[in-house]
Symmetry: C2
Subunit: 339 residues, 2 copies
């Protein structure tokens, strides 16, 4: 399987490391991966005989980023160049998320699929904005579109609702889908601190971003809920179909009152059938200890499906960090290789 | 996909009902299933143009078993006849479990695989005794062996450790894998009754069998743990490698003392790496509320994996009953059709 990688940030680098380290075990399973393109935001590498990833990694000093330099200085290694060459079997798309339009990732993915190239992406943007179009292109061209990483990384939320619920009708999706808010709420619960103090601690630990709005205002959860709803329940919903409320309005009193009642606030994303329509909502909810999502601790995420013939299924887990996200990309790659 | 079914008990009948009811939805997904053989313990049906399953089901009065009669009285429809004809793509094997040798199911499955016929089974016997041999035969012949139903039915425990952990190294498996014992322990906890009283209630509800030894002495859990260990951790262990203790020795005092400590007894099956060796054990353990398996209530089952790169994953769920078991067979069939 000849792979081209666009996007060489934390997850991209972790993926190259993982492919290099796991290569012998993967070969033993019949999975042969050869990376022939690696593209960062400015420069790219191309070796049709396979990039020596071990050497590339060794060239990186601890804590330093790996510089990508193509050996042939006259050519410019771009996504367009790669997609014109058509010499890869699988594109790994890990560029930064464009939340408004999903571009340019959407165009890269679409072009690859139209050229009968499998795609695995960790990028929510194109999947939130164009899942139907991209899935249709994959189907028409007989190739696969792997999106497991876009909804919780290592937590197999997409597979959980598709492969593991195959043949049943899923009529509700419910999840604790965002790690940052789960951490902040736990911190407020354990220490009695304010939202602001918990947020600062999350920033200091590298859990919350400098601009935390996407997480704490519920957008990240909404993006994931939208993807799961469209994929698992075969819908074509938009973000505007979701009623979204974040956690910024929760006071220490709210949290401690809940605690005194034996309850916990969790930022829940939920899609439920109500008659002929679907209700989609993201909001903080007080859960009691009988609810499995009550027990999703700070470092984990979870999703719960209810179905007609396979009953209910709750998946809890999913390590965070770039290695786990890269491992979820690798899981999708292996799944495609095994078809 | 032309299907032959051996074993027309509760799960077999539920599967035929499910395939009939779900047929339009499956066709829309590109999954076309045609059942051409159905074999009960004494008689069989064969129609190379596809058995009219709706008619077969309609012929069954409520509460009555469906009588299978082949239209041509001169031929005898047997597994041997079917496997000689070689006109199916997939065998569904649902005969009674032979715990000692796995036969004759093992031979049927092996013969089918050698004839390049996919197999889906819900039968623990052949998988406990001959998984390596059967998996090897499937691999050599380029076909699939679906065994999801053998380890908890609707709970996707096998897929959870294989597909969902692909590319990582699983270093521990832990589960509440048996519904009957989970029900009995819950009953003892809730009512303070003895093991014997709880067992009688479980029998009256149809949860425990007339001879409950296989469940309550830990064998069912051990069978499932063995299958998961061999499949997920790529081992070739035997039942004799597992230290097995059932729940019959637990007193109401044990249960209530645990309860007073905020703990619960669960019958746990666990495989863990200890240095170069694997420790495999089935025994009742007191879990505290921090442990996710503490929260697996009477009707559910659960399994938890720990891995190097994908972190931990706990799957909780899996409705019980023949429809859910049949739905897990259908899940494996769809997975094979989608390859």
């Amino acid at each position: 399987m000849r792979i081209g990688l666009i996007g060489y940030g934390g997850v991209g680098k972790a993926l190259i490391k993982l492919i290099t380290e796991k290569s012998p075990a993967l070969k033993a399973q019949g999975v042969n991966l050869e990376v022939i393109y690696i593209m960062g935001s400015k420069k790219g590498l191309y070796n049709p005989q396979g990039i020596n990833c071990a050497q590339l990694l060794a060239a990186s000093k601890d804590g330093q980023s790996i510089t990508i330099e193509d050996t042939d200085e006259n050519r410019e290694i771009t996504p367009e160049f790669m997609l014109q060459n058509k010499d890869i079997d699988l594109l790994v798309e890990l560029t930064s998320t464009n939340k408004e339009t999903g571009e340019p990732a959407r165009s890269y993915i679409l072009k690859a699929l139209e050229n009968k190239i499998h795609v695995v992406t960790g990028n929510k943007g194109p999947i939130v904005h164009s899942y139907r179009e991209l899935a249709q292109a994959a189907k028409e061209n007989g190739v696969c579109l792997g999106i497991g990483c876009t909804c919780g990384g290592a937590l197999p939320s997409v597979n959980g609702g598709t492969i593991e619920m195959a043949g049943s009708e899923v009529y509700s999706i419910e999840g604790v889908l965002n790690g940052t808010t789960n951490y902040i709420l736990k911190e407020m619960e354990d220490t009695g601190c304010t939202y602001g103090t918990a947020l600062e601690k999350a920033k200091a630990c590298g859990i919350a971003e400098a601009n935390p709005s996407f997480d704490v205002d519920g957008w990240d959860t909404a993006f994931k809920l939208l993807i799961l709803t469209n994929v698992v329940m075969k819908q074509d919903k938009k973000l505007s179909d979701i009623q979204i409320e974040g956690i910024t309005g929760l006071t220490p009193e709210n949290i401690q009152t809940a605690r005194a009642e034996g309850k916990r606030y969790k930022l829940i994303g939920r899609t439920m059938r109500e008659g002929e329509t679907l209700q989609m909502v993201v909001r903080p909810e007080k859960l009691d200890a009988e609810h499995l999502l009550y027990h999703v601790d700070g470092k984990n995420k979870a999703v719960r499906y209810e179905s007609d013939t396979l009953g209910e299924l709750t998946l809890i887990g999913g390590a965070s960090g770039t290695t786990a996200a890269a491992a979820s990309i690798l899981r999708d790659i292996i799944s495609i290789c095994s078809r």
